[in-house]
């Protein structure tokens, strides 16, 4: 399916000619928000490469301009890696493992060095130690809120494989906002996400698909150097070299 097909499905439940297209666009936009608020789905993955500014430990995530990341659709953080300036090997960094209140106690405000801990505080990315001594290259792995395609004939992962999730969510919004029919909205909400208190409907299918994809792509951040080396070889094979 493409976006135009989903539009036609939603229109059929209101009116082909009397339901304003502007309201239909709102319904589809809010429908996508309703779906994406249930979980971080695979099509929402993104990453941002940037360089730290020497002496700067805080970067605006959603704002643009020098020293900020310009990610206005940022939803959630996945991981954070850093590398030496112009380096080719990235190393992992702890992300969100403690609160900012705790981190402020662990680090002096003028501590220098490469990123050891990264936090997301409101709309800011906070780097510890707060005084980077070099313009380290960083890669920020995130989940973004996404938008519907602009063109009727376009599609994406949600629309092409789970179009009824978007349609049901748009109908929930439309029945509440346009028709003021809350019982009708409840009907579509059950089809979208199952009965109250239970997981079902299209959201359950999306979460199952998301889980299958995630387990295959999950990053295992395990140190592979020094005494903490993780042996992936069978012991029998390792003994060949002794």
């Amino acid at each position: 399916m493409n976006l135009g097909d989903v539009k036609d499905i939603v229109r059929e439940h209101f009116s082909r000619t009397a339901f304003p297209t502007v309201m239909l666009d709102f319904a589809l936009a809010e429908g996508r928000r309703i779906v994406e608020s249930h979980a971080n789905f695979w099509w929402m993955r993104d990453e941002k490469d940037f360089s730290l500014t020497i002496g700067t430990g805080s970067y605006g995530i959603t704002t643009s301009g020098t020293g900020n990341l310009n990610l206005p659709n940022f939803k959630d953080a996945r991981a954070f890696h850093w590398a030496q300036p112009s380096g080719v090997r990235f190393e992992p960094t702890e992300l969100g493992t403690i609160t900012k209140e705790e981190a402020d106690l662990l680090y002096d405000s003028d501590d220098e060095g490469n990123p050891e801990l990264v936090l997301v505080e409101n709309d800011d990315l906070i780097i510890y130690p707060a005084n980077p001594d070099k313009a380290y290259d960083c890669r920020f792995y995130i989940f973004n809120w996404t938008d519907n395609p602009a063109d009727n004939l376009s599609t994406d992962a949600l629309i092409s494989h789970f179009p009824m999730a978007l349609a049901y969510a748009a109908l929930v919004w439309g029945y509440e906002q346009q028709l003021k029919d809350f019982n009708g909205a409840s009907y579509w909400r059950v089809l979208l996400q199952g009965p109250p208190g239970r997981l079902g409907g299209e959201i359950a299918k999306l979460k199952r698909a998301n889980f299958k994809r995630d387990t295959q792509e999950k990053i295992s951040l395990v140190p592979l150097l020094g005494s903490t080396i993780r042996a992936n070889r069978r012991l029998d094979n390792m003994q060949i070299y002794r």
């Binding site: 036609d8 000619t17 004939l153």
Partner: protein, 116 residues
């Protein structure tokens, strides 16, 4: 909201009558079609807000008469599944004031043409 909504088959021509009587009450006719600020104009965009010039994309022409308040618009072709927004801007032949009618044309090959 659009002033008119029309459904069209991609292989059929669609003739639309846009009546500007209520929007230009002090005029008895419309300026001829053209491209300058003293003419009546017509433009079209797709659902993404743009319009390519491909052979299968919709094309529109408009016709006005100095003694008629009706702009006759002919829509040809169009991609199946696409929604197009025709902005017809008519100028009164006396007041020269502009008035706009938005006409939404939905090109559908298989959807029934009858409105719900």
């Amino acid at each position: 909201m659009a002033d008119q909504v029309e459904y069209k088959h991609p292989d059929a021509n669609l003739v639309i009558s846009a009546d500007f009587t209520n929007k230009l009450p002090s005029d008895s006719g419309l300026k001829a079609m053209g491209t300058t600020a003293t003419h009546s104009t017509i433009s079209v965009s797709d659902s993404a807000g743009t319009l390519s010039t491909g052979a299968t994309e919709i094309s529109v022409t408009g016709v006005t008469a100095t003694n008629s308040m009706v702009m006759t618009i002919t829509a040809v072709n169009g991609l199946d599944g696409q929604d197009y927004l025709i902005q017809s801007q008519a100028r009164g032949n006396t007041s020269t004031a502009p008035a706009v009618k938005l006409i939404e044309v939905r090109v559908r090959e298989n959807l029934g043409i009858g409105a719900m």
